[in-house]
């Protein structure tokens, strides 16, 4: 038995080395996921990006990933395992991986790291993020046009700056069309619980909202909206299948473009640590087709999208007041990125209180 095991072990070791040798020409690009790669939301969007990367650069690289990696020491271990197994460039795709990424990056100065949605960088750690809020602004405008009651429901996950930013951008967009527009917010305190998301959707509709938007991951709210006959927006991916007559548009995360760009730079030896925060114009997020709305609303949405892409329109442009009515941005003044990335206050028009 013991001999057999030993023999097996040696064979595999030899096989393993052989595999490593043949793979040497191909660079290994690795991904650490916080969720399951088929979660239908955040992680799946990253995995689609990975697949696009493989498709476009598959002759030069191979990719590997670890899914459902809990934040904390497990993340550190997962990232270290990748760094040790010969990954040249590692994408860590959750905010909670920030400190783990930094710790391991200090240990492996020759490996390059890219951390999504964080703010700490090192010479071998870059950060990247997407200006999701640009899409939220367009959604807000559409909502204001489409809503008869002037109230939208917003199913939020957790009060982090990114989600708060989205709520604000949505309200600013909506108020640019209808200055009296209001939203109701429910914090589901989960990214991922179809039942709870559906319950939240029902509660909002029962309280009189006639348009729904979500910052949680499953299509459950879209299904409820379809059943109740109101319109809704999709999140993270195109959810049109869940509501063919319901979805107005969706913010689609398209990380693939960024992954290809950065991997190319890595292969060419031109990789540098950057903090990139791309938007609609860079194709890191795209809007799903504008459907289920009259032509004039569609035209408005498309015009706004074009203006955002050209840089003519920035959602967070004054005059804007904070929730309590105190002035925040003066006429024509735009918010800087640092404020946005750390946003923890509401703008005027949000009917909710942020936990402080």
């Amino acid at each position: 038995m013991k001999k057999l095991l030993l023999a097996l072990a040696t064979t595999t070791a030899v096989l393993g080395f052989a595999a490593a040798a043949s793979a040497q020409e191909k660079a290994k690009i690795c991904f650490v996921y916080v969720g399951s790669k088929t979660d239908g939301g955040w992680t799946q969007a990253h995995d689609i990006g990975r697949q696009q990367l493989e498709k476009e650069l598959g002759d030069k690289i191979e990719t590997q990933f670890l899914e459902n990696v809990p934040e904390g020491p497990d993340a550190e271990r997962a990232i270290e395992r990748m760094a040790r197994s010969g990954c040249g460039l590692i994408f860590t795709t959750s905010f909670g991986f920030m400190d783990a990424t930094i710790k391991i990056a200090q240990k492996f100065p020759d490996v390059k790291f890219e951390h999504a949605t964080g703010y700490k960088t090192l010479p071998n750690v870059a950060t990247y993020n997407s200006r999701f809020y640009e899409g939220r602004y367009i959604q807000g405008q559409i909502a204001a046009k489409m809503s008869e009651k002037g109230v939208a429901g917003y199913i939020a996950s957790f009060p982090i700056p990114e989600v708060v930013m989205g709520i604000n951008s949505f309200v600013i967009g909506a108020r640019s069309v209808n200055p009296d527009f209001k939203i109701k917010v429910i914090w589901a305190n989960t990214w991922f619980d179809p039942g709870k998301e559906a319950d939240a959707a029902k509660a909002l509709i029962d309280q009189g909202v006639d348009i729904l938007t979500q910052h949680t991951d499953t299509t459950a709210p879209m299904q409820v909206a379809a059943e109740r006959g109101i319109k809704a927006f999709g999140q993270a991916s195109d959810m049109i299948a869940a509501g063919p007559n319901t979805q107005l548009t969706a913010i689609v995360d398209t990380w693939g473009a960024y992954y290809v760009k950065r991997t190319k730079a890595f292969l060419d030896g031109k990789w540098e640590s950057t903090s990139s925060w791309d938007g609609l114009k860079d194709g890191i997020l795209t809007m799903a087709p504008y459907t289920n709305m009259p032509d004039d609303v569609k035209a408005m949405a498309e015009a706004t999208e074009a203006k955002i892409k050209s840089g003519e329109l920035k959602p967070f442009t004054g005059p804007l007041n904070k929730q309590d009515g105190s002035p925040w941005l003066k006429e024509g003044e735009t918010a800087d990125d640092a404020t946005l990335l750390g946003m923890n206050f509401y703008v005027e028009g949000v009917d909710d209180k942020l936990p402080q």
């Binding site: 399951s36 917010v185 309280q207």
Partner: protein
């Protein structure tokens, strides 16, 4: 539709899977078997029901598949804990682990598919009664089943000979055995019934609550169901009370948020758990009553002497 009615409808949908899974577990526990694998059986029920519905187009076939999956997992649990007398607590937890893994594998090809919703059945005449009609008599088959099952369990446990035997097995397997009762056989049946109910609860999740399949969609409801059995002090109708209390507080806190009352959402979200504890304290002050209803052999293995 008035807001109260709307809220109650949401509560019924949210509470039904809890009631079903808890009712099944109650029977298993009354026979003396503690199966902590409810979550695993439930998620298996959800994925099987969804898959079968997609393949055949009929949610009723889906329901059967959900029940079958729950049964299969329960059979496995029974084999380990009853035939091989493995530890019940650990085996149940491992069953949950296995269920989450297997359901994820099976469900991979069904992700993102559009679900087929189990349609409600209006009961003639009764469904026309104002307020109560739309609430209770225009529901889906699984809801009707959940009430029928609880009523059936109540009758069975307290009014039938077989039920008496089952309770005897749960209270003292040694005495029951001495009286010629086949302890293992009764426990197998009870565990299987529990599995079937958990599978049915899972089917409700993927066919009624949110007609779709996503990994891990039971999101801890199996655990709540386990707690509800204790809450009910092993009495069937109290399972319904507990399930609906939990559902009602969960839904109300969402409404409170949408209403904008300005209390941190984390505190509101913890209300269902706190409320359940508080009510249990209030109803369990009578030590004798609790002791009478607690199956004395719960969790203890039995091997017949030969």
């Amino acid at each position: 539709m008035g807001i109260i009615e709307a809220i109650l409808l949401s509560v019924i949908t949210a509470a039904t899977p809890l009631v079903l899974a808890a009712a099944g577990e109650l029977v298993a526990e009354r026979s003396g078997v503690l199966n902590l694998g409810v979550e695993g059986m439930m998620i298996m029920g959800a994925v099987s029901a969804f898959a079968a519905t997609q393949i055949t187009g009929s949610p009723y076939v889906g329901i059967l598949a959900g029940v079958a999956a729950g049964l299969l997992f329960a059979l496995f649990f029974g084999f380990l804990t009853l035939t091989l007398v493995a530890n019940q607590v650990a085996t149940g937890l491992a069953l949950t682990l296995l269920g989450l893994g297997v359901s994820g594998m099976l469900g991979e090809s069904f992700l993102g598919m559009q679900g087929i919703k189990l349609q409600p059945i209006a009961i003639p005449l009764l469904s026309e009664v104002p307020f109560l009609g739309p609430l209770l008599f225009r529901q889906d088959a699984i809801f009707y089943l959940s009430i029928a099952i609880v009523a059936g369990i109540h009758w069975f446990l307290f009014r039938s000979r077989a039920g008496l035997k089952l309770r005897a097995v749960g209270d003292s397997h040694a005495s029951a055995h001495a009286l010629g009762v086949d302890v293992i056989r009764i426990r197998y049946l009870a565990v299987l019934f529990g599995g079937a109910c958990a599978g049915l609860a899972g089917a409700q999740l993927s066919l009624v609550y949110t007609p779709q399949w996503v990994e891990n969609m039971s999101a801890g409801r199996g655990w709540i169901a386990l707690a509800l059995v204790v809450f009910a002090s092993w009495r069937p109708w109290r399972v319904v009370a507990g399930g609906y209390l939990f559902g009602a507080v969960s839904i109300s806190q969402l409404h409170a948020q949408a209403f904008g009352i300005g209390i941190p959402s984390q505190f509101l979200s913890s209300l269902p758990y706190v409320a359940t504890i508080v009510v249990l304290i209030l109803i369990s002050h009578n030590r004798r009553m609790t002791l009478i209803n607690t199956p004395a052999s719960l969790g203890k293995p039995f091997v017949p002497e030969r």
